[in-house]
């Protein structure tokens, strides 16, 4: 019972249609950032325990060489450039102010990139070996969540998923990185998807792509048709261009018609969701044992002189990337890591690129919430916009008068902060932030309750 608009698929309710702003970069190929003179690699750029350095200060490493072990729950780190290891130090971090990081100073003496020859048996590897390769390659979810992929696959297998949904929706305005990845490596993505499906135990792959990327759909469809084996069918599902089409639950519903219960993962309905860029990385890891070294991101927005899709070594400084894109335009006031809807504002440029960062949007002018906000006029727009059917208005007015604990019936705990409500609010109310406050308070209260 997939819900469809015409032949297109979409999620059940809510959502918004912000101006996509993708024109500036959608036509630009992925361009490589010239090797930076230094990279900074925070030891923690995934969900899990931080990586443990396995190189010494002053050691020369080649690009591709492992420099930190992943431990039980994390993933290892690899040198994105060849150079000399600097001491582990606290360095600026995009989200955590400062964090312990490994730095590598670019040094030609260290030698060229390691070679990653093809493993001829890559299609028929045992499960354990495949998972190990994914782990060793340091792959995390590249859609933004940065959860170690090998663990996610393990969980999916344990949860007996039967369906892999590949996320190629890229519904965030401005961003085109996934789009360019899909155009550049359609066959690799399809192959990677099949590999992921095998590891997860899924028997079918659906790749959801928003309909405003017709050439990506064509390319992927061709690649799927050209697959040598048919034991795991791959199907491309065009979806309506509508935010948040790419949110896990929305995408799962759109392409498969399955409804993920509130506060549960898609695996509850037998689905594993992976980003298309992750599929590409998995493909590289299994076929070539090639670790994750670069990140493809969109650098765009009115605040950048030459918007581009950039492939940059992990750890490259954002200032280098911005400079590669022509530098900041006058009047640039805000820098968003990720898309403008769910991304996060960064205070400064001297932070490194990390695995989860799929875009850098530079904006001019004042932010929507900078000029204060008005009272709720109960227009109901947020109710219509919320893809989950929550009541951001009710939550917000209760938080305003300090009754955060009364917000549970209005859905505060279910919110995943897609930002649709804030986007549509004519009174510019920070509804997402009210939701966050309410959620935090409710969780605290629940923790206190269970503790006592």
């Amino acid at each position: 019972m997939t819900q469809a608009t015409g032949s297109l698929h979409t999620f059940g309710r809510g959502g918004v249609h912000p101006d996509p702003h993708k024109g500036a970069t959608s036509g630009r190929e992925i361009e490589d950032l010239p090797a930076p003179s230094e990279v900074v690699l925070p030891l923690l750029q995934h969900l899990g325990e931080p990586a443990e350095p396995c190189v010494k200060k002053g050691e020369l490493v080649r690009r591709g060489q492992k420099i930190a072990e992943g431990g039980k729950t994390g993933v290892p780190l690899h040198a994105p450039i060849s150079g000399k290891i600097k001491p582990v130090d606290k360095r600026p971090h995009p989200t955590m102010a400062v964090a312990p990081s490994l730095a590598i100073g670019g040094n030609a003496e260290a030698g060229p990139e390691l070679e990653f020859p093809e493993d001829p048996a890559w299609r028929d590897l045992p499960l354990e070996e495949s998972l190990e390769r994914v782990r060793e390659a340091g792959i995390v979810g590249l859609g933004g969540a940065a959860f170690p992929t090998w663990r996610k696959l393990q969980f999916a297998r344990a949860a007996k998923v039967d369906l892999l949904v590949m996320n190629g929706a890229e519904c965030e305005p401005y961003l085109t990185a996934d789009y360019r990845v899909m155009l550049a490596w359609p066959a690799e993505i399809v192959e990677g998807s099949v590999l992921i499906a095998k590891m997860a135990g899924a028997t079918r792959v659906l790749i959801g792509v928003e309909s405003d990327k017709p050439d990506a759909i064509t390319a992927l469809s061709k690649a799927a048709a050209a697959l040598p084996t048919r034991d795991i069918p791959v199907e491309i599902v065009p979806c309506v261009a509508r935010y948040p089409q790419g949110a896990e639950k929305q995408l799962v519903f759109a392409v498969s018609g399955r409804t993920v219960p509130n506060r549960q993962l898609p695996s509850a309905v037998g689905v594993l969701v992976q980003n298309v860029a992750t599929a590409h990385a998995v493909y590289e890891a299994i076929r070539f044992r090639r670790p994750l070294l670069d990140r493809i991101l969109t650098v765009t927005g009115p605040g950048i002189v030459t918007p581009r899709n950039v492939r940059a070594p992990l750890g490259a400084s954002l200032s280098d990337i911005v400079e590669f894109c022509g530098g900041l335009a006058p009047g640039t006031s805000r820098m968003i890591a990720g898309g403008p809807m769910m991304g996060r504002a960064l205070p400064r440029l001297d932070v490194p690129l990390i695995k989860g960062m799929n875009g850098l949007v530079l904006l001019t002018g004042r932010g929507p919430l900078e000029d204060g906000f008005g009272p709720c006029i109960r227009c109901g727009r947020c109710l219509d916009a919320c893809p989950l059917g929550l009541e951001p208005d009710q939550v917000s007015v209760r938080v305003e008068v300090g009754r955060t604990l009364d917000t549970e019936p209005h859905g505060a705990l279910d919110c995943y902060e897609c930002g649709c409500c804030s986007y549509v609010c004519p009174s510019s109310r920070p509804l997402v932030q009210f939701m966050q406050v309410a959620k935090a308070a409710l969780r605290r209260a629940a923790a206190t309750r269970s503790a006592s």
Binding site: V269, R334, I336, L349, G367, P375, I377, G419, S422
Partner: protein, 327 residues
């Protein structure tokens, strides 16, 4: 060369925002009412203009004073006080004296809105409260001696007074109502075009429809409430044999499109809005046919307003994901 120490503004997300804003919405509402208001001035003369201006002045000044007294940032620019004053003026008789309209505006804002803390917190439509207050306070001016509309570019308005079609219908029956609006353009045209006695802004259905169309096109209002109001009215007046006459007369359109759709005082969920609208429509019909007033929409909306919090409780938005079963 970019400066690596540059500090960006750390504004919370989402970092994009719709173009719509409260004040834009309010001013669009005000603007879309302008044709109907101007028509009122055209057919009823400058007295109607004085009523409109005084009502708006009363609302705006009261809002400003109340915000000053309460130590809050004055928000006159958002146009909501103007909207209240204008809407109230459009629902009252052109026969009102300017200071009475002014008082109505004062009441509407002071006791209908500011006493609850201002925009967004009131429970009843302030414009209609203003009208109900005027009905209770100046029943003579509000219910009798209706100014007769002047025909196309005819003689200026003199002291001719008459009764509204609904009042005549209630008192004397259909024939008399038809005789009342006998005009060069005929009954139905009179009802639609606005050559009939009535409240300042309610007479020209064409212009109200135009304004409502603008609001609909801009998605400021939706059809859920207005259509269910109309359905409710037709339902409850069907047995009189005159549902269309009821539909075309009185302040029904102004009420259905502008008053009942007031965000603050109506439910937010579509299903609740339909119940709300039906309630208004049916109550309007009942009050008109069996009640004490020839016109019922004002009180019907106020009564429905009083039910709105309960409707909000009963009708919750449908949660997207309640149970998960693979299809």
């Amino acid at each position: 060369m970019s400066d690596t120490t540059q500090q960006f503004v750390l504004s919370p997300g989402p970092h994009l925002h719709t173009e719509e804003s409260t004040s834009k919405i309010m001013w669009w509402v005000n603007g879309s009412l302008a044709p109907a208001a101007l028509w009122g001035v055209f057919v009823f003369g400058l007295g109607a203009l004085a009523v409109i201006v005084a009502a708006i002045a009363g609302s705006v000044l009261t809002e400003y004073a109340a915000q000053r007294v309460m130590g809050r940032r004055p928000t006159l620019g958002d146009g909501s006080a103007v909207c209240t004053g204008l809407l109230m003026a459009l629902t009252v008789s052109p026969n009102l004296i300017w200071w009475q309209a002014f008082l109505g505006g004062v009441f509407a804002i002071a006791l209908g809105k500011m006493i609850f803390g201002g925009l967004g917190f009131n429970l009843f439509n302030p414009a209609l409260l203003g009208r109900a207050f005027l009905m209770a306070t100046f029943p003579l001016q509000m219910t009798s001696g209706w100014a007769a509309p002047r025909p196309w570019f005819g003689a200026p308005l003199d002291a001719v007074t008459t009764a509204t079609p609904l009042a005549v219908l209630k008192e004397q029956g259909l024939e008399a109502a038809i005789r009342l609006v006998q005009s060069p353009v005929g009954l139905w045209n009179a009802l639609a075009l606005g050559f009939r006695p009535g409240s300042i802004g309610e007479v020209s259905l064409v212009l109200i429809a135009l304004g409502a169309g603008i609001l609909l096109a801009r998605r400021i209002i939706t059809l859920a409430i207005p259509l269910s109001v109309i359905a409710g009215l037709l339902l409850s007046t069907l047995h009189t044999g005159l549902p269309v006459l009821h539909l075309m007369s009185g302040g029904l359109w102004l009420g259905a499109f502008y008053m009942a759709t007031d965000y603050v005082t109506s439910p937010s969920v579509t299903r609740a809005q339909i119940v709300f609208g039906l309630m208004i429509g049916v109550l309007t019909g009942i009050i008109r046919v069996y009640g004490g007033y020839p016109e019922g929409i004002c009180y019907a909306i106020l009564i429905a307003n009083s039910m709105a919090p309960a409707l909000d409780l009963w009708f919750k938005p449908k949660r997207a994901a309640i149970a998960g079963s693979p299809s």
